[in-house]
Amino acid sequence: MKKVRIISRLDVKGPNVVKGINLEGIRVVGDPNVLSEKYYLDGADELLYVDVVASLYERNNLSHIVERAASNLFIPLTVGGGIRSTEDILTLLRSGADKVSINTSVIKNPNLITEAAEIFGSQCIVLSVEAKKINEGFWEAYIDGGREKTGINVLDWVKKAVDLGAGEILLTSVDKDGTKSGFDLDLLREVSKIVDVPIIASGGCGSINDIIRCLTETSVDAIAIATVLHYNLLSINQIKKELFNKGFPVRL
């Protein structure tokens, strides 16, 4: 049976892993290589690296971190932030990434999704969505690391993107990010109704109970967590053991 994935998310700024609240106000929390290895050894199912200042430098700068991770961490690596073209994607895959996560560029040019999926396969292309709740049933898509609004309805956008070839969705709640107040369950449920690709829930985890609620009340495929790991509130091993004891399918 397919297992629920516990993904460790590392937002990277230059040489550091950082963490913010509502995708801003970032603080340095550690070294990407040290943290990655720790989470790998602790049982992380995947590692997700996001370059949070890529738009400032107009490119993704995580190749070296990915190379290092690929050399000794034998689990899937996803990289995002500032990816603009299929050349960028190829560079990251050749560095050791297995999947790429893209937001800003595909909002501006949705055809990039199809172009990339045709060359690399849909399973390689993760649509990253930063969703901010506007009112009941309506979330607005943000770009540029949660800095810029687009006026686009998330529910319309995810359907279009999956039709174009996105193989997976990384769904981040801008409202919940870093707050430890639980995931945006409505958002996750609404998007699940619309698309048939795996959804990775991101933003808001503060406890194992938040994860249990998310898995029980939505059909997401994976959980991406950051705050609880980087601030040593929970460990992956601890999370998985508890999920296993409660009957959830996890890889131990």
């Binding site: 297992k3 689990i75 050749r94 048939d196």
Partner: protein, 211 residues
């Protein structure tokens, strides 16, 4: 002296992980991008990310298509991973009709979303090894391995299916072996400890020393 293992590199995706895992297992690596790179090797890995059509075309244009067939007929061992395993079969329908290496009878089909509920099949799933390759079964039977694919192989040659995986009630071949040709649908180089154990055993099976 370390044994050299070949990895087919047709420029389409992440092969770094396979390279690094082989190095970790104490082999040296030769990247293969044309037919002349095949000389003197006894084991070759055909990794795979991307689309069947692109990969198939690249294998043709580099003459590796025939090169790999000759390599196997002369006794070389070939391991296809993910797309690489699919390329071992006869054909695929991904973005059009494309020809595979044809070592094993069968076709590559897209998962039927009405059966499996979600495509691609992404994530960790347990693999059931059968007694056709008992050493794998004894080592890692029922362990979780990492899958990331939208297509699976459909073959009448059940004798060559050495492991299966169940995805939401749909069973498909997870590993195959026909003579010198092996295939893993999952990524052993992305499957943590289980993958490392399996690959180590693969090299033991094919008689390649790693010291």
């Amino acid at each position: 002296m370390k044994t050299e293992v070949g990895i087919v590199d047709i420029g389409l995706g992440n092969i770094k992980s396979v390279i690094h895992l082989l190095i970790k297992l104490n082999f040296t690596v030769r990247l293969i991008s044309s037919i002349s790179d095949l000389d003197g090797l006894s084991v070759i890995i055909l990794p795979g990310v991307g689309a069947f059509g692109d990969a198939s075309k690249k294998l043709f244009s580099t003459k590796l298509f025939d090169g790999l067939k000759q390599f196997v007929s002369k006794g070389g061992f070939l391991l296809g991973i993910c797309l690489g395993m699919q390329l071992l079969f006869e054909s695929s329908q991904e973005f059009g009709f494309h020809k595979g290496l044809g070592f094993i009878e069968g076709k590559v089909n897209k998962f039927d979303i009405s059966l499996v509920k979600q495509v691609p099949h992404i994530g960790w799933n347990n693999v059931n090894f059968n007694s056709k390759e008992d050493s794998f079964r004894k080592l890692v039977n029922n362990s979780d391995f990492y899958f990331v694919h939208s297509y699976y192989v459909l073959t009448k040659e059940k004798d060559f299916v050495i492991a299966t995986c169940n995805y939401n009630g749909f069973e498909f071949p997870a590993a195959v072996r026909k003579g010198n040709v092996f295939g893993f649908q999952f990524h052993p180089e992305k499957s943590g400890a289980a993958g490392i154990k399996l690959l180590k055993q693969f090299f033991v099976l094919v008689g390649v020393k790693n010291e």
